[in-house]
Amino acid sequence: MYGKKVKLRFVFLGLILASVILIVFLILQSLKENVVYFQSPSEIKSLIELDKKKIRVGGMVKEQSVFINSNEVNFIITDFKNEVNVIYSGAVPNLFAEGKGVVAEGFLKDKNYFLATKILAKHDENYMPPEVKEAIGGN
């Protein structure tokens, strides 16, 4: 019915369409798996079920809460309403200090303990991640 050339073109179009669909599917699928959600200490307290997935917790490092020994750094993240204890062994960024904003990435042990795998580095002493700003409800 159609010429050879037209047929070939249809095959080509079909291939393109199929691969586009495949690509979109692939991207969305791995987005779903690899996205890390951000939560404030208060949001963690109000969780009904503990999430097994990696999350980020942000807030302020509570004053007088940093303790360090040879393989761990412990501290408390607070949003001035609720607190979460963080247990961390890894590299600490420069601007990590008591009374400053922080974002920790890792897994919840329970509602009070958070095992961090990464503390995010900040570039600027005045800078506060917008997530943290929102989490502690200030401006």
Binding site: I27, S30, R56, N94, E125
Partner: protein
């Protein structure tokens, strides 16, 4: 004071010249002269001079620490070394936009004097489109980010430049990156001009390819400089973090690479015209999008100098206008010439270049979605998420296998119709690659099959290009060098990521930390005073498994203006591996948090990127295209 005024008024004069230029060139468009009116050239040169004067006067204000200038006050300090006073000029929002303008005007002037053998109307239209962009940026600078704002009373001291920006690599990173990033504007303008003149042809392809190459080379080197800086200054011990800001520079690079390849098809076969135009338009649009994302404060990074919604909105509107304009022109004027499209065969150089383009578009869409999706989600549902490296690795790394494979085969195909020649030697090369890989990889990873395939496809490209470089009569050396550089890049990145090892621990002075026969000994610390910072230098002795010791001296700097603590990693580089040590203060001075990394083949990553750009450079200076 004076410099301030000179700078400001030359900016305004530059803007007026833009308007004048538009008028004169529109008049010239309808005149019957064969050549462009000399006035147009002179005016364009004058505009460049004004922008240069403005830029120089800002540099002068920085050198003199003239704190009556708000930009200088916000970003400089008298105790800063001269070199960083100068580089501070573009280390901030206002100054870097002035640099944008400088590159925009420089490129259009160079374009005018370098395109004399091109049709007159095409040249004038390119100038006009470029002037639209230039006017937009003049307005942007003058309305929202004037670098010459007055401060009164005049402060006696400035606020200082963010110390992590005080670094040699970062001092030259912005100008180089901008030459590539903003250089794409000329591709944008000239492709629009070519479309309106129905001039998207072999001749045009040959001429615009030079500009694509220039942008591509600068962008490649600019990205590399940023990456080197991140490697030793941020202390994360890596060179690429899939940070949105990095992605924003990678996206135009991917498109430029695609364009670079398919423009060859245009140049040789006058095919794929629409595709070339679309890519040309997209490149600059993506550069603008990147600027919007970074400068509007939507993305947070060291590049986000100040959050001012007005700026974001201005760029967004401007971007929107440019997109509508370019799409409008494309659909109104573009005619696909069907002369050549019929003899497009499956097994040919054209197809292989199209395959390259497909991969580039795929990589682009992965990076684009990973970058934009979190912003999008935040806007529609105010859910905060982040997309990390696993996302990109999962989606990009497996696709490198076919990509590398096609990259080894593609260049050996001929135009129009071809057979794969020397099948046997290719198969032998492939078998050697697989065996070599298996031999190397077998004890290193638990995902043996995947890594064997991945690494051997990289080796395959490595050997085929290497053979071409040394044994065969070379027919396209620039391409071979660039592809060889790419295979080396992938190999170094793969081995670097497979073989890297890392130790993180908290340690006191005088303590020893041992692990698998290696030993880290924290000997002592010394303090040192510089004009703009105090530093704590630590002395570490590290003994590796073979009993060799190296001394590493990482540093913590406490800058005084602004008060910021930075870590300076100490890196011992050899051809085989980098030893990287960085330390941080945690609380008090008792414990230091250290990160020690052994990163194999680190230097080869930089070398291979240089090879890649060398390939581009060779192609740029090649006199004649060999058959």
């Amino acid at each position: 004071m004076l410099a301030n005024q000179i700078g400001y008024y030359s900016l305004i004069l530059g803007l007026l010249l833009s308007v004048l230029l538009c008028g004169v060139s529109i008049k010239d468009l309808n005149s019957s002269n064969k050549q462009i009116n000399q006035n147009v050239l002179s005016l364009s040169f004058l505009q460049l001079v004004f922008v240069i004067v403005s830029f120089l006067s800002l540099i002068l204000s920085f050198i003199n620490s003239d704190f009556s200038n708000e930009t200088v006050f916000n970003n400089s300090h008298t105790t800063k070394p001269l070199f960083y006073k100068i580089s501070g000029t573009w280390g901030n929002h206002e100054g870097s936009l002035l640099l944008w303008l400088l590159v925009l005007t420089l490129f259009i002037f160079l374009f005018l004097i370098k395109s004399r053998e091109q049709p007159k109307k095409y040249r004038i239209l390119t100038l006009l489109f470029q002037q639209i962009i230039i006017i937009g940026f003049f307005l942007f600078v003058l309305m929202t980010s004037n670098p010459f704002n007055y401060l009164f009373p005049i402060p006696t001291e400035g606020l200082g430049l963010n110390p992590i920006l005080q670094d040699p690599a970062l001092a030259i990173h912005p100008p180089i990156l901008y030459l590539g990033y903003v250089g794409t504007s000329i591709i944008f303008s000239s492709s629009l001009a070519a479309v309106t003149q129905n001039y998207v042809s072999k001749k045009w392809g040959k001429h615009i390819k030079k500009w694509v190459l220039v942008s591509w080379i600068f962008l490649t080197i600019g990205i590399m400089l940023g990456s080197i800086w991140a490697y030793y200054e941020l202390g994360w011990g890596g060179f690429w973090f899939w940070d949105p800001v990095e992605n924003v520079s990678l996206m135009p690079w991917l498109i430029l690479t695609a364009l670079l390849h398919c423009i060859i098809v245009l140049e040789r076969r006058a095919a794929l015209t629409s595709w070339v135009v679309i890519l040309s338009i997209t490149t600059f649009t993506l550069s603008m999008c990147g600027t919007f994302l970074v400068r509007s404060g939507i993305l947070n990074s060291v590049h986000t100098f100040a959050n001012d919604p007005a700026r974001g909105i201005f760029i967004l509107i401007f971007l929107f206008i440019l997109i509508v304009l370019s799409l409008g022109i494309f659909f109104l004027f573009h005619k696909e010439s069907n002369k050549n499209s019929s003899n497009f065969l499956w097994l040919s150089r054209e197809t292989s270049i199209l395959i390259n383009n497909w991969f580039m578009m795929y990589f682009l869409s992965v990076v684009l979605i990973g970058t934009v999706y979190p912003i999008f989600l935040d806007v529609i549902s105010s859910e905060k998420i982040s997309v990390g490296p696993p996302f990109y690795h999962k989606l990009i790394v497996p696709f490198l296998i076919p990509f590398l494979f096609f990259m080894s085969l593609g260049p050996r195909l001929k135009w129009i119709k071809s057979k794969i020649e020397n099948k046997n030697s290719l198969i032998i090369t492939f078998i050697i690659s697989i065996m070599l890989t298996f031999f190397i990889v077998q004890n290193l990873t638990n995902d043996l099959l995947f890594y064997t395939i991945l690494v051997s496809s990289a080796f395959f490209l490595f050997f085929t290009t290497l053979k071409e470089l040394f044994i065969k009569k070379i027919n396209n050396i620039s391409q071979t060098v660039a592809h060889f550089g790419f295979s080396l890049l992938i190999l170094s990145i793969l081995f670097n990521s497979i073989l890297s090892s890392e130790i993180i621990t908290n340690i006191k002075i005088g303590e020893k930390y041992t692990y698998n026969k290696s030993e880290i000994f924290f000997k002592n610390i010394k303090e040192r005073k510089e004009s703009n910072f105090n530093s704590i230098i630590a002395y570490f002795e590290i003994k590796d498994e073979n009993g060799k010791t190296v001394e590493l001296k990482p540093e913590i700097r406490i800058y005084n203006q602004p008060v910021i603590i930075t870590s300076e990693a100490d890196i011992k580089t050899t051809l085989l591996e980098d030893k990287f040590l960085v330390m941080n203060l945690v609380k008090g001075k008792e414990y230091f948090n250290i990160r020690y990394q052994v990163k194999p083949f680190m230097i080869w990553i930089w070398i291979s990127v240089l090879l890649l750009s060398l390939g581009g450079l060779m192609s740029l200076f090649k006199k004649k295209y060999e058959k």
